[in-house]
Symmetry: C2
Subunit: 392 residues, 2 copies
């Protein structure tokens, strides 16, 4: 995996900093409209819609449904495109995201997060539940279940919850089927309606091989938890897996839905991991070269407040430039991206607008108020990032 890549200049392959990195795939050079006020997000809606159609078909072949995580795009318009493409509803990560999507009429939502419903969040959850009774919430502790139940006490419908189980990601979710039954019983006792279990195979982000391992972990963990819940008298109609790295393989067994999110826009990380094809990248950051004063590099106007400092051990730098595959975005400050140009490889000119594939698209989108939308080589409008900043 860390071997020099054929065709790459030796200077790059030999760089010690790259010892653990994986090669970038060949990203197609996207079309960008003229007159962009950089830095700006450009999303190709045709590519995004094709991504959804392809994943819906793949998931359907395993008799499951797609409930994509909308934290990636935070856009009502892109969400409507996903629903038109055959997804059954949306996943969100926060009550704030749920409020925006419910406000836009999209109310079949799962908040895949152990919401702690105290203080202001209790009244916000109560209002959401009354407005969107199908809204489901995650839970991974008896105490969390009791808070949720207290927040909705006296409502017309019971709040539906899914118990989170940990497939080895070590973030949230209970560790054993017995603990899942314990949380489910506490939830039922408190008056919540337990409708299933969910997991997130986030450890699949560790590398290409980890994807398959994490997917198998999700299937095994969800199977064991479902069996235990059913043995304890819970019907468990919803068994929900998901992440983009595990989306193609965490299917089968009792799994009824997949929650991948990043797949719709794609990014450098998913391409390098092999989760998506490099041609499936639907979002680029357009940036302008503002300085070439220092030898061996240029500076673009996309810095940490545009690309974020999201990195992974297998990614070198902070994004990829499809038109300049040897360039490395080596350092970021708030408004400067320092792009190293190895000797002998072409450099963008001062004033040139370049496209960048960000490492991780989700936090990048969350920085922007809008996308420039294109379809192929045509600009079709501007979309708001409706749920930007809704982090709680």
């Amino acid at each position: 995996m860390s071997q020099p890549v054929a065709g790459r200049p030796a200077a790059r392959a030999a760089d010690a900093a790259a010892a653990a990195t994986l090669p970038d795939p060949t990203f197609p050079i996207p079309w960008l409209p003229d007159g962009l006020d950089t830095p700006v997000l450009v999303v190709d809606l045709d590519v995004a819609e094709a991504n959804t159609r392809r994943l819906v078909a793949h998931v359907a072949a395993s008799a499951a449904t797609l409930r994509p995580h909308a934290k990636t795009h935070k856009s009502l318009e892109i969400a409507r495109g996903q629903l038109a493409g055959g997804v059954v509803g949306l996943t969100v990560g926060t009550l704030g995201e749920a409020e925006v999507f419910v406000g836009g009429g999209l109310d079949d939502l799962f908040v895949a997060y152990p919401v702690w419903a105290a203080g202001p969040k209790a009244s916000r959850l109560r209002a959401l539940h009354e407005r969107a009774p199908r809204l489901r919430v995650g839970v991974d502790s008896p105490a969390g279940a009791e808070q949720l139940a207290a927040a909705v006490a006296g409502a017309a419908d019971p709040l539906q919850v899914l118990v989170e189980v940990d497939p080895g990601n070590r973030r949230t979710g209970v560790a054993t089927p017995e603990a899942a039954v314990g949380v489910a019983r506490a939830a039922a006792r408190a008056g919540l309606e337990v409708i299933g279990v969910f997991s997130h195979g986030g450890h699949g982000y560790a590398g290409p091989e980890a994807r398959a391992i994490a997917a198998a972990d999700e299937v095994r963990t969800l199977t064991a938890a479902t069996e235990a819940l059913r043995a304890a008298g819970f019907e468990c109609p919803v068994v929900s897996a998901g992440s983009t790295p595990t989306m193609l393989a965490a299917l089968g067994g009792p799994i009824t839905e997949m929650r991948a999110g990043t797949y719709v826009l794609g990014d450098r990380q998913q391409s390098v991991l092999g989760s998506i094809d490099p041609g499936a990248v639907a979002l680029h950051v357009a940036a302008t070269v503002v300085s070439a004063a220092v030898d061996g590099q240029v500076v673009v106007d996309a810095g940490a407040k545009t690309l974020t400092k999201d990195v992974a051990p297998y990614l070198w730098g902070y994004g990829a430039l499809p038109a300049y595959p040897w360039a490395v975005i080596e350092r970021l400050s708030d408004y400067h991206g320092v792009v190293r140009i190895p000797p002998g490889s072409p450099a963008p000119a001062l004033g040139e607008v370049v496209a960048i594939v960000p490492n991780h698209v989700c936090p990048v989108v969350d920085l922007f108020d809008s996308f420039v939308a294109v379809r192929g080589r045509r600009r079709v409008g501007t979309l708001p990032v409706d749920a930007r900043g809704r982090r709680g």
Copy 2:
């Protein structure tokens, strides 16, 4: 620097991941108002105002003035507090920030950035210049100077520019005094008014020793550039240095102003570098513990979309918890912060609201629409982050 810290559990000091890190100072535990809807920013305006008064006095002792970088706080109210505390004007990084501050009546601004004034930026710069003739812009290339001049051609007043020189940071800025004269001549020929030079000693972020080196580099580089410009017939009334790591030492010689920004809110990075006292941290992220399902850790609702993944080689993890100094914020996903709790050290309880000192405050603030403002142990209101998202 990498020795175990007295009083720290051996498990932490021995951890290989910490081999290059520096110890956190002892951060005071801040007061947080009740009923916060986490994650949220809490800023103590008393602390921020004291930070400005102290730095203004320090800079004045070297016969210089303070023109703080407002990209840190992006707030009209905090900027007005800085002006009340004796700063002479503000620094910004983008035309978008300038538009917000000019809109708020704060028009003594320096855009410390090599603005490439083509396309939409040309008309925006023209409008800003007509509204705020004192607005100054950075330039580091003859081509950039020509673009600036073309954007304001025919305006009543000439646009004032400062030539950027590189003190060794290798980001932007010309490398030699001769090159600075070349850019100044090109600017003057194009009709711009060259009023001085500036530098940014960003290499002072590399570590505590680097601070003094970068400050000396700024003084030496600015002195040489000023002498060359004066010898070439440019009066050079403004000689501007600055970054928070170099703010106490990059003074003297011909330097007339200092542009530190982070100093006003403070953060973990500046405290560990020794640029600020840990008691000078004026901003905290308040977060809630939402999960304790996995042994040895808790999860808070501040993830990468709150704390950012900004790191430095000498910082371990993504922030510090003043009330839990042995805790390490080890992993972030969008809405989850995984906080490792070493065996035998205290852990926050499920549902507890904790204060976090972020690694780097500037990109954190840029994620939020508002701050909760306190003075001491009293909540005094909510301030908008007026220039949030103004990255271009």
